[in-house]
Subunit: 290 residues, 2 copies
């Protein structure tokens, strides 16, 4: 494919250089926070609250995976899962502060510190945080070999698949500075394929990994439920209403207190910018009479 005619390239005549160079003008809506190098760009400590678990996050799909699990653990009576959730404004570059980078050298949300261990444990990548908390509390990750494997299969499926949905489809359909037909088609097809994989599985089992509600559901719901809930304003484009099994499963999840609460955390515009106590939800979920 290296021999394709440059006249067919976009823009016509474009030829990749021998060595790629960073052009800061490229990158679309998130150009200001996308860089070809890693590391801190400012000295900034992270705040620390009263609880053992300190979450540094934002209420994106990857962020709410973790707050859904934490709220599910609390709803199930695991009081050790009390946490402080601090807002990391990724549009403002908070993830490049030195304190954040020391917890997550990859500068992405969510990141977490468990201060109850010695030494304290740093956690990054939503899938790693879900696994850590599930093991720590012995919940939402079955121990029987078959169920455990199936849960990890689907958790890893989500981790490896959703980049095509978010960084692929969402970027080119909604965020890139112009629309590129080839890229939109590529990622729309893959997003629909993934939705179909999930819908087929949920036609066979109550939850993603079988009869048990697990961290696989909590990882998958924010991304694929998000699409059905019109993320990127793309539900019509992707015919998301066709996936009836996903809809059935979403309705079950969205009726749960843990899911309701978890979806609200670290969302400054339509939820809680920060969360430090269960009572923080009271004013949102049960507003005072006027």
């Amino acid at each position: 494919m290296a021999d394709s005619d440059p006249a067919n390239n976009q823009p016509a005549g474009y030829v990749p250089p021998s060595v790629w160079q960073w052009d800061k003008g490229n990158g679309g809506q998130f150009a200001n926070i996308n860089r070809p190098i890693s590391g801190a760009t400012s000295d900034k400590d992270l705040p620390v609250g009263k609880h053992p678990l300190q979450l540094y996050s934002m209420g994106t799909p990857n962020g709410i995976k973790v707050t859904i699990l934490l709220e599910e653990l609390l709803a199930a009576g695991y009081s050790g899962a009390e946490y402080d959730a601090w807002l990391i404004k990724i549009g403002d570059g908070d993830q490049f502060g030195s304190g954040f980078v020391s917890v997550n050298p990859n500068s992405k949300i969510p990141a977490m510190l468990d201060r109850s261990t010695d030494p304290q444990t740093r956690l990054f990548e939503s899938g790693s945080i879900l696994f850590y908390l599930a093991e720590k509390f012995g919940a939402f990750l079955p121990t029987e070999h078959y169920k455990r494997a199936e849960t990890m299969n689907w958790l890893m499926w989500q981790m490896g698949s959703a980049p095509f949905v978010g960084g692929g489809f969402g970027h080119f359909y909604a965020y890139a500075p112009f629309k590129i037909e080839y890229a939109i088609n590529r990622y729309a097809m893959e997003t629909k394929r993934q939705l179909h994989v999930l819908d087929t599985q949920l036609g066979k089992t109550e939850f993603v990994a079988g009869d048990d509600y697990t961290i696989a559901d909590m990882a998958i719901y924010p991304w694929y439920g998000g699409i059905v809930n019109n993320a990127y304003s793309a539900a019509e484009f992707l015919s998301a209403g066709d996936y009836a099994n996903i809809r059935r499963w979403m309705d079950q999840l969205e009726a749960r207190t843990g899911v309701k609460r978890g979806r609200l955390v670290n969302r400054a515009a339509d939820g809680l910018a920060e969360r430090h106590d269960a009572s923080d939800f009271d004013r949102l979920l049960a507003p005072a009479a006027g």
Copy 2:
């Protein structure tokens, strides 16, 4: 961004339709195996060999993660890790056979069956297979909380990051039917960022997750070592020679028997199409005198 001028789109004037439709002519080199729906397209059973572990795979970066771990386990004396490796020709659509889909409904390699458990365990997603085998044999995944968390952090980092390298950079730089400047720049920047994250970490620690050689190294090496080894003929383009800490770590890994052997499995052109016994490597690694 939905209001960008269609004249700026690629091609100029392109406007996404209200509802996406499958055009089978779109898709580049792999158009014949990319589909917006999942499931089997043919009835085809999987072969089964003599060992407890049956691997259905191909020697791509995701495939050799698993064979490196299996060969490392065998080199370390875990004889229960003996396996049959069967070649799944993804270019021919083997992953859409009914037997393969029953093991991995996502139709991607690698997939595995553990026939030593009751019921037998199906495994899909390379990260899930690595985790399962590491837990099963108690090897290459530390049990101390801090080391275990760090290993899972980096394993999940690989799972969530490499889609930008393979499905993003590799696709647009090497495989797409024409070169799209915006997409190549987007994914070149992200690939270099990830290489820098890894290089920075390996400047601080001997292995990715610290002092111990773990499944995180085995997951990360095939992708990022692959770039340094000129995957997609892109080492010069990405200035991959700049990442000296990755090079130091790759040299350590590539000297290991487990890595040498694992890299050869399910590679019809330059290794073993199938692997059923340790002696299968003899003719490759120590050819008979003429």
